[in-house]
């Protein structure tokens, strides 16, 4: 009889402490779980983490592939596949930027497999496929000149048609060091545009945010939850039977 009481006492204590231990993690799981269930409503996938501490924790560094080209008064920069017009993010997930030029009417930027046309204010007019571009430049009559792997071509009708170009007077676009203010704001903008809130919440939910120890902790909480459910049911049944016995 005494042994039996000791067993129940142990169960009560275990139930209490297991509950206390897993409470914090349970609340964390519940909060992150509810938030993740409403990812689209809360726009978690488009809200980017701005905190330097969290960005550092994830190892998000400044862009490694950073190249700028001047186009008249403006600067086109590629930072890890993101294209910036002066300070502003223009497009994401672009191929290699090869150069940019400014005509009297528009700005043209060349990528390895496409040509982009922008207004002088940096608004995208069009991006069209163009294979095997090597470099872009501007001719003596303001023509946009493209050197492909096989030939030299120019366009003087707003990038609609191309003809062979033989004039040697071409000012090729080459990478240049942008003004410090532009480089600084792009680097900051890049860092704060890669880590969505959804990713962080998912990592907190799974415990990965805290490393391997976090995953183990969440696993232990899961096991404790199963034990809590079993011990809770056992305690409830014990009380139920005792009540029935007393009634008899």
């Amino acid at each position: 009889m005494k042994k039996n009481n000791r067993g129940w006492r142990f169960l009560y204590k275990s139930h209490r402490y297991a509950g206390l231990f897993s409470a914090v993690i349970l609340i964390m799981l519940a909060v992150t779980g509810i938030a993740l269930n409403h990812t689209e409503d809360l726009k978690l996938d488009s809200q980017m983490i701005q905190s330097d501490t969290i960005l550092d924790w994830y190892g998000v560094s400044s862009p490694t592939d950073f190249k700028s080209f001047s186009a008249g008064q403006h600067w086109l920069t590629i930072a890890n596949q993101q294209i910036y017009f002066d300070h502003s993010l223009l497009l994401k997930q672009q191929n290699r930027l090869l150069g940019a030029v400014e005509t009297n009417e528009f700005v043209a930027a060349a990528f390895s497999n496409s040509l982009m046309m922008l207004t002088l204010e940096g608004e995208l007019i069009e991006q069209s496929p163009f294979e095997a571009i090597v470099r872009i430049g501007i001719g003596s009559q303001q023509q946009v000149v493209i050197q492909t792997e096989t030939e030299l071509m120019a366009s003087d009708d707003g990038l609609l048609s191309w003809h062979p170009y033989h004039n040697k007077q071409i000012k090729w676009s080459t990478p240049r060091q942008p003004p410090k203010s532009i480089a600084k704001s792009i680097k900051h903008s890049f860092r704060t545009s890669v880590l969505p809130m959804e990713r962080v919440l998912l990592d907190i939910h799974s415990g990965r945010f805290f490393g391997y120890a976090g995953v183990v902790l969440v696993d232990i909480s899961g096991i404790l939850l199963i034990l809590l459910a079993l011990s809770g049911c056992s305690i409830w049944l014990k009380h139920k039977f005792r009540a029935l016995k007393l009634r008899k």
Partner: protein, 171 residues
Amino acid sequence: MLKNILFFTLVSLFSSLQAKEYQSTEDFLHQVFSGAPPKPKVLWLKKDIREKVSHILQHKPGFLRTRYWQTPEQSVWVINEVGKTKPITVAVVIKDNKIDVLKVLAFRESRGWEVKHDFFTDQFKQNTLTDKLRLAQPIDGISGATLSVKALTKIAQMALFFNRLILNEKK
């Protein structure tokens, strides 16, 4: 170590998947125009057109002009629209104000690629545009590819709308 794991997860999440190009625009044009495509023309999206395109897309268009290739019989439009995060490139051939062919030229998303198949794109054939700028015939969705289906539907609406504009210009 932890940083590396987290950063690797992050990088793998964001790493751009290789664009799957099923057919180049040039090849498609050669196919449609039997090897002799006409010179491209452009339709500029003036303010009133932009408003209607915004209505179709449910967001502002990310371009100010679009190219098209036209003969007396047909017009061809190559339009990009983002499904979830990346643009899908679609070519639309229009004859007599009806869609004759709709083909996915490039699909860059990780999900929803089922929309490239003929069983889906054939639904657009002979579809027309209503006065409310909607497709006259409804398009059946594909579960798991909702956003891609929406993107293709919007492209079809836009192409029919643009075609209507260039025909009205001629009149």
